[in-house]
Symmetry: C2
Subunit: 141 residues, 2 copies
Amino acid sequence: QLRSMMEEILISDILIPADKVAHVQIGNSIEHALLVLTKSGYSMVPVLDLEYKLHGLISSAMVLDSIFGLERVEFERLSSIKVEDVMNKDIPRLNLDSQFQNGLLTVIDNAFVCVENSEGTFEGILTRREILKKINKEVRT
Amino acid sequence: QLRSMMEEILISDILIPADKVAHVQIGNSIEHALLVLTKSGYSMVPVLDLEYKLHGLISSAMVLDSIFGLERVEFERLSSIKVEDVMNKDIPRLNLDSQFQNGLLTVIDNAFVCVENSEGTFEGILTRREILKKINKEVRT
Ligand SMILES: Nc1ncnc2c1ncn2[C@@H]1O[C@@H]2COP(=O)(O)O[C@H]3[C@@H](O)[C@H](n4cnc5c(N)ncnc54)O[C@@H]3COP(=O)(O)O[C@H]2[C@H]1O
Ligand SMILES: Nc1ncnc2c1ncn2[C@@H]1O[C@@H]2COP(=O)(O)O[C@H]3[C@@H](O)[C@H](n4cnc5c(N)ncnc54)O[C@@H]3COP(=O)(O)O[C@H]2[C@H]1O
């Protein structure tokens, strides 16, 4: 039964831990963000501060959209815009004791979800890939 | 039973049809591709030709990586590079009679999969979101 299997999975079992998550820092320019996004190959990453608190999510589409002028793309403005001016602050969050079903529900509309602990510190991310792997494994057995 | 449910779902039930899929054309510059990607908000889209044959996939990360010079990002080169020079040609494909289980297996490693008909013409895409919605609905009932 898929639902009973889901009750047994802990978020911590399938979490990608913070130290493996590419991210940018509050105060960075969007030029730096574009470098991190391009070199990591990820289309969207978390924005954290020095205390590992989560502030938002930033993507290459958000960065590029912010420099699309009426006549041309204004690449020279990249170094003068900060990630906090462009990032999405209205983001879903789970915590370490959240249920797998909540994770499944949240990744319907989000490619990944950030996970925090009870202090509000960033612990890692839950991705669609990890959830789909678990479901596929269950279906095969 | 999730597996029996999966045997009843047709790819055509959950397909996003070709006319709703943002894409770029063979022969376009990567500057045009970056415009389509940024304005559509999608991180990766198919590359088609005028006969709606599928040639590859292109993302903003691939485009930007191709103009990252040693010293700076060479934005002026965007208009002179074609999508075929940068796109990923080695891509998974399903056809209209593929099984849902194959779709599930393929989206473990791919955010979406292109679907073709028996003539090799592009029919649309299968996305992780559509698959997760179906699975979630099944788990809830
Ligand atoms: N370097 C790589 N190696 C192997 N496969 C790769 C890859 N980069 C991307 N992919 C594949 O492409 C999917 C979409 O990646 P995207 O960067 O758009 O979207 C990613 C990205 O925005 C974020 N993400 C995943 N892992 C991350 C990490 N380690 N650090 C930061 N963000 C991450 O979560 C989203 C969903 O990730 P998910 O794994 O479900 O899905 C990934 C994965 O299946
Ligand atoms: N305009 C929008 N409105 C609402 N939600 C949006 C959205 N743009 C992105 N999302 C959300 O973000 C997820 C990742 O989008 P991404 O563009 O990286 O990755 C997308 C994109 O590369 C491609 N894709 C999806 N729909 C497309 C379309 N109509 N045309 C072209 N490519 C599409 O398939 C990937 C997975 O799509 P999926 O729907 O599973 O997952 C989407 C969806 O949940």
